[in-house]
């Protein structure tokens, strides 16, 4: 088999990214949408780390920042979810179509 090059990693990351996008676009459940966003962020991370093999360590630094952001995003997102669930008793995004209730 051919040796594994950076391109292989990039394709794997693209696949994950696309899966994440599909999840965000098609699912109704907020929890799963948040998880899909995590998937997207991870795909980006994989790209960054793969490129860091070509251009030096900066990619890895960036991926660490991305992980930090993911943590913040998950905390806030799930906080919103809890508050929302407490008021509406649903976790479906398409039922959140009002700006105020």
């Amino acid at each position: 088999m051919a040796p594994i090059t950076t391109l292989h990693y990039l394709v794997a990351a693209a696949a994950l990214f696309v899966l994440g996008v599909i999840g965000v676009l098609t699912r109704r459940n907020v929890v799963i949408i948040l998880m899909s966003i995590e998937l997207i962020l991870n795909a980006v991370n994989l790209n960054l780390v793969a490129f860091s093999r070509l251009y030096g360590l900066h990619g890895q630094i960036f991926s660490i920042f991305v992980i930090t952001d993911a943590a913040a995003e998950a905390a806030v997102g799930l906080g919103i979810l809890i508050a929302f669930f407490r008021n509406k008793e649903t976790v479906n995004v398409d039922e959140v179509d009002l700006l105020k209730w």
């Binding site: 394709v11 696949a15 599909i22 799963i32 360590l57 890895q60 905390a75 906080g79 809890i82 398409d94």
Partner: protein, 169 residues
């Protein structure tokens, strides 16, 4: 240390990651989705190790798999999944969404095909033995300001999450 059986492990790990990704977006039960996401994250940690990024792999395991996913599971347990499971899982625009995402994927692959020639021909040898030390030097040197901003971001996120999730303030 030279990685062994790179090809085999690459296909194993990336296959696991993508399979996990597919399961995340198709499962009805959010707990199963979370489990699949954990599989993806751990497989990615393995890929990071193969890419000479042990520190990122460690952070991935501690923060993602150990921290964020526990948070997810916690929240899933708080919300009532039984009801959610019986409902329609996909929204009305699911076909459009899949088509758009597929188009995006095709775009990615095309760009990679075209752009591969632009990549540097040789791979930078990253020292695995001192990876952590080098990252530390960069993080606390060149990226100091970004690091501080990230810490501020986390603080804001903590406060925001507490404010939103609290019953009565």
């Amino acid at each position: 240390m030279q990685p062994v059986a790179t090809t085999f492990f690459f296909y194993l790990l990336s296959g696991a990651a993508i399979l996990g990704g597919v399961l995340v977006i198709t499962r009805k039960n959010p707990v199963h989705s979370a489990l699949a996401l954990i599989m993806t994250l751990l497989a990615q940690a393995g890929l990071y190790l193969m890419l000479y990024a042990p520190f990122v792999a460690g952070v991935q395991i501690i923060l993602y798999a150990g921290g964020i996913m526990v948070l997810f599971l916690f929240v899933i347990m708080l919300v009532n999944i039984e009801k959610v499971q019986k409902q329609e899982q996909f929204n009305k625009q699911w076909l459009v969404g899949i088509v758009a995402a597929a188009a995006l994927g095709v775009l990615f692959v095309l760009v990679y095909m075209k752009g591969e020639s632009l990549f540097p021909k040789h791979v930078v040898r990253l020292a695995e033995e001192s990876n952590t030390q080098e990252i530390a030097v960069l993080l606390y040197g060149q990226y100091m300001f970004a690091f501080e901003i990230a810490s501020l971001l986390l603080l804001v996120a903590i406060i925001g999450a507490v404010v939103m999730a609290k019953k009565r303030i």
